[in-house]
């Protein structure tokens, strides 16, 4: 098989049609009223993200950063194979809880999104929504080689190759897959970054919002959600 087919052109013409449940329509409610529904406008609250300003006093900001660094609450969303090494971290052998790290089931309760491995396009869409639903300040850690440059899946048609094009990554942990010790070291490093006040990923996302959205939409063809869904 040829290594690269120079003649191959991907199909950029065809638009993916909007899903049926996302199209505007008329609905009869149980009490007999007929109402118009435009799911994209009605089901979501649209508001562009804002830059989270620093406090005026350096001491207060330092205190905030200390508090943030010591309560990293991870969203329990294993996006790839790396999630299997997160599990030992929760158990007494590695015990990440002693550093104030814990796992939460919903995005609303979490402030750290760990992209644990490759992201297929279908998961990228969910990861973006999960990230946008998290309250600020929030951080993203990319785990494994596949988030850095595609790693093992460098020629796969369904996984993204460079995570920081789509989400603002604060820290990468390399390895395929990283051991629990490496994860712990990575989280310690993230703490240091937060303590220094340099974990500005969420602000970067708000400032370069259009650029991120353009990148995301270039990959996700069936974009059927509002630009910012919190």
């Amino acid at each position: 098989m040829k290594d690269l087919d120079k003649n191959f052109k991907k199909d950029t013409e065809t638009e993916f049609p909007l899903r049926e449940e996302m199209r505007p329509r008329k609905v009869t409610t149980p009490d007999g009223q007929v109402i118009d529904i435009d799911p994209l406008a009605d089901y979501f609250c649209q508001e562009a993200p804002k830059v989270h300003r620093k406090s005026y006093s350096a001491i207060v900001e330092g205190f905030y950063n200390w508090a943030r660094a010591n309560s990293l609450w991870i969203l329990g969303f294993g996006t790839g194979c790396g999630a299997i090494e997160m599990r030992p971290l929760m158990t007494p052998r590695f015990d990440a809880y002693r550093y104030g790290i814990q796992w939460r089931p919903t995005p609303r309760q979490a402030n750290l999104l760990v992209i644990s491995g490759y992201l297929s396009v279908k998961t990228l869409k969910r990861a973006i929504r999960a990230y946008e639903q998290m309250p600020q300040p929030k951080f993203v850690v990319g785990l494994g080689s596949c988030t850095i440059n595609g790693g093992m899946y460098w020629d796969s048609y369904n996984t993204i190759k460079k995570l920081d094009e789509y989400l603002p990554v604060d820290l990468y942990i390399a390895g395929c897959m990283p051991r629990p010790e490496a994860l712990l070291a990575g989280f310690m490093e993230l703490k240091k970054i937060i303590r220094k006040g340099e974990a500005e990923g969420a602000n970067k996302y708000a400032e370069n919002f259009d650029w991120y959205k353009a990148n995301q939409k270039s990959v996700i063809k069936d974009w059927d959600m509002p630009d910012y869904s919190w």
């Binding site: 609905v27 790839g80 599990r87 158990t91 007494p92 490759y118 020629d155 369904n158």
Partner: protein
């Protein structure tokens, strides 16, 4: 005022066939997405539930969140280059992929494997099964709110990962089984350290038996729930522990012995009830069996011999046109690789037959209607599905 007489006008209409007429626009049903990020999900898949009150009326499985296109990527790699990616098909039990693929390549290329390598392969597969069952036990207890079992089982699994690391050099993905044998023999003193792990595991399993299988809540929530009619096993392709929980002793290790399973003495555990309880207890007993098998293998295997035959130059390795199918009993059921070659240096087609493929799709969709929302997680975990092998 609170009344026990419900307002029937809000109830959904029943059609002539006795089933609900599902129309979401009436507002009488709710669509509930169970996953992809949900603690009660094994891996990364989602179940789209339509619920009426607490009762699930309809459920559809959605997979594809972990799709990397392995079968396409394998076609682009030489036979030996496939090995780093082949194990990544199934995360908790990766060695099965290596064995099935290696055995398929060996069969088509006509390579003989040394006797000791077969024993080490069996050992590796049983160790992988141990890990996988440990996760399953923790998962099923966790899905029913018994989190401490998950903590114990993860700890014991970690001890086994240490043995894996000692043997192969890696914790999760080992790339240890290659065509022609395995990469290395057993290190010195391995048996003693393994025995230590097995004894720890047995101690913890005794505790599990006391904490989980005598727990009134666990009994109540699992007995009679998620019943699969044994008549459906053939049509829905149910294999492995899920079939053994329904009285059908399907086990590839016994039915068509591969590697050295014909030299080991064992009886596969069978239960009759075919509900979540039976599936949990079959897994528990199978875990005990695995511990026993590891001991038998270590006692019976030859040591110190050749573990790898010499391969042809892997850069120019061409395999003549042919096709084969290799299967084995993984912790979820029959796991197989279908390999087609066309005479070139690359595989023509590799197809992975994961047991979760049938369990998590058609079977789960068949079982879900009529259960409670809270039981869906337990039902899914009891089928022991791993999404990566569904979508590859």
């Amino acid at each position: 005022m609170f009344s026990f007489q419900p307002d029937r006008s809000q109830y959904p209409d029943v059609g002539p066939d006795g089933k609900f007429e599902i129309d979401l626009e009436t507002g009488k049903f709710l669509k509930l997405w169970h996953g992809p990020n949900h603690p009660g999900i094994t891996g990364n898949m989602s179940v789209e539930l339509t619920v009426n009150g607490d009762e699930v009326v309809e459920g559809y499985t959605h997979v594809g969140y972990l799709h990397r296109g392995f079968e396409k990527l394998m076609e682009r790699r030489t036979f030996i280059q496939v090995f780093p990616i082949v194990c990544r098909v199934c995360v908790p039990e990766p060695d099965f992929n290596e064995y099935c693929y290696a055995a398929a390549v060996e069969e088509l290329a006509g390579i003989e494997v040394p006797e000791e390598a077969n024993w080490i392969r069996t050992l590796i597969l049983e160790m992988g099964r141990f890990n996988s069952y440990m996760m399953a036990m923790g998962g099923i207890a966790g899905a029913l709110g018994n989190g401490v079992i998950g903590q114990w089982m993860t700890y014991v699994r970690d001890l086994m990962l240490d043995r894996f690391e000692e043997l192969t050099g890696a914790r999760i993905y080992h790339m240890f089984i290659l065509p022609g044998g395995v990469r290395a023999g057993l290190p010195e003193g391995f048996e003693a350290r393994m025995e230590e792990v097995l004894q720890t595991a047995e101690r913890y399993l005794d505790d599990v038996e006391k904490v989980l299988f005598t727990n009134a809540v666990f009994k109540k929530r699992t007995k009679g729930v998620g019943y699969i009619d044994p008549k459906l096993f053939e049509s829905y392709g149910v294999t492995g522990p899920n079939a053994r929980a329904g009285g059908v002793a399907k086990d590839v290790r016994k039915d068509s012995p591969y590697l050295v399973y014909d030299q080991l003495s064992f009886e596969v555990p069978v239960e009759q009830d075919s509900d979540i309880w039976a599936r949990s207890i079959v897994r528990y007993r199978d875990l005990r069996l695995t511990i026993d098998l590891i001991r038998q293998i270590l006692a019976k295997m030859p040591k110190g011999g050749e573990v790898m035959t010499s391969l042809p130059n892997v850069l120019h390795w061409k395999i003549p046109r042919g096709e084969t199918y290799i299967k084995g009993e993984s912790s979820r059921g029959e796991y197989g690789y279908y390999l087609v070659t066309d005479g070139s240096g690359y595989p023509r087609r590799v197809n992975v037959r994961g047991p979760s493929y049938t369990h998590a799709m058609a079977l789960l969709e068949h079982l879900i209607p009529g259960t409670n929302i809270a039981d869906v997680a337990a039902l899914m975990v009891s089928l022991h599905t791993y999404p990566p092998e569904i979508e590859r």
